[in-house]
């Protein structure tokens, strides 16, 4: 009987669950964060990431600012990891001494000054990039 081979080495495994976006009533804000003030159309929900690896302290997770796709471009694109603050630049997370990262909420937030500060009618979607690398220092 044959068994398919395996590669014995350092590894990184990222698990995710999808989030959901909603738009504020005045249409100037699209976010996944239900703690944002205002009345929203749709239901906000965070994306989540968790990591299992054997990288120890050398492992790095980088989360890049999100990109919004839709008719009206976003003027600001921000991301929030866990209970941190919103940020428009790439964020890095150091893995725990066990090489893991517990499930962490990830929120996105977009505003626009185009089209009289309103996102035009249409469908909008967002993507944030999460990267795992080794020896990143």
């Amino acid at each position: 009987m044959d068994f398919s081979p395996t590669v014995v080495s350092n590894f990184c495994d990222i698990s995710t669950t999808g989030g959901s976006l909603a738009v504020e009533k005045k249409r100037g804000l699209i976010t996944s964060d239900s703690s944002q003030p205002g009345n929203f159309s749709g239901t906000q929900g965070p994306g989540t990431i968790s990591v299992v690896s054997n990288l120890t302290a050398q492992g790095t997770i980088v989360v890049d600012p999100p990109k919004l796709t839709g008719l009206t471009p976003a003027t600001t694109s921000e991301i929030k990891l866990g209970s941190g603050n919103y940020n428009s630049t790439a964020q890095s997370i150091t893995l725990g001494s066990d090489g893991n990262l517990a499930s962490t909420n990830l929120h996105v937030r977009f505003t626009t000054t185009d089209n009289n500060n309103k996102f035009a009618n249409g469908t909008y979607s967002a993507v944030a990039t999460v990267t795992c690398t080794d020896g990143g220092n």
């Binding site: 590894f11 995710t16 990431i49 890049d64």
Partner: protein, 148 residues
């Protein structure tokens, strides 16, 4: 007496609530997606990568080449991949795009062209709100041949 009569109903409600919570937890977990890659460093000019899907949904994986960049003092893969032609000049591997079912994994043989500058070979997968990338680094000092 009235309280005694209500106690079984309260217990039944608690059991139903627990079952409902468990069902909802399972439902939310069923949306989990995952990508795994090894090794995280390409130590030899020729070798094999293993890409796995430990989630419970089918995923599409692309293998792309990225130049390095610095984020908060740490080196990681740049945001934009090299073109397919530039990538091919640095590393040869087949296939570079494939689907992986739940629990499936695939071993890919690669060969790095000699005298290449540092780069990252990343397995990428679009998973709802997130583009997941797991990246193996290539350093020019790597050994020319795979050794046991």
């Amino acid at each position: 007496m009235a309280a005694t009569k209500h106690r079984p109903i309260a217990h039944l409600s608690l059991i139903c609530w627990c079952l409902l919570s468990s069902a909802l937890a399972l439902l939310s977990n069923s949306n989990a997606r995952a990508l795994s890659l090894a090794p995280m460093r390409l130590d030899h000019q020729r070798g094999q990568l293993q890409v796995s899907n430990s989630g419970d949904r089918m995923i599409r994986v692309n293998l792309q080449v990225f130049p390095p960049r610095q984020v908060n003092g740490r080196t990681t893969a740049a945001a934009t991949p090299l073109s397919a032609e530039e990538a091919e000049q640095r590393i040869q591997l087949r296939p570079s795009s494939f689907r992986l079912g739940p629990g499936a994994s695939r071993v890919i043989t690669y060969r790095v062209t000699p005298d290449q500058p540092p780069f990252y070979l990343c397995g990428t997968s679009l998973q709802n709100l997130l583009q997941v990338r797991i990246c193996s680094s290539w350093q020019p000092a790597a050994l020319p041949h795979n050794t046991p």
